[in-house]
Symmetry: C2
């Protein structure tokens, strides 16, 4: 399993952002290699979104999705800056029900 | 570089939580294998905290820290549930200044 860790600071211009997030969530959920996603944004506009994927091929498929690329191309105004890390999950544990 | 991804839902009982977070942040920053940390909590009490480490040995050192273990032992009341994933960062990119 791989994690795509997206960290960002949001800008003040969020026109169209909510709709785009909704649309991307629906698209991503249809990809067979997509496992789950968690996203947290605080009151200061700091966002961390982690999506989990079966393998790197699944991530590549999403990266090349045409509609995803269109949205990405206009996403710059929503973020002051961002960072993306791709990491291979080696251990997974918890006392909880998060993510099943 | 390794990422420790901590996802949690916070409970209503946060007595002592803020002080513990502050203390743990100071402790962790003194460990030579610690690189950086990002933590976001939203209005609904969903928290994602990701810490980045040089290697698995550095993570093990932190896990075995005596004061850390004491705080962990009482942390159950602060969380409804949590999940910890350890992942090896394979790619790191971004347009931003987050984390330097």
């Amino acid at each position: 399993m791989y994690a795509v860790i997206f960290s960002a600071r949001m800008s003040a211009d969020l026109e169209g952002y909510g709709e785009a997030v909704e649309e991307m969530r629906k698209l991503v959920a249809m990809l067979p290699g997509f496992l789950e996603m968690e996203s947290v944004t605080d009151a200061e506009g700091n966002e961390v979104t982690i999506s989990y994927w079966r393998d790197l091929d699944a991530i590549a498929e999403w990266r090349h999705d045409a509609r995803h690329r269109e949205v990405q191309a206009q996403s710059g105004r929503w973020y002051l800056d961002y960072r993306i890390r791709i990491a291979k999950v080696e251990r997974d544990s918890g006392a909880g029900k998060i993510g099943g």
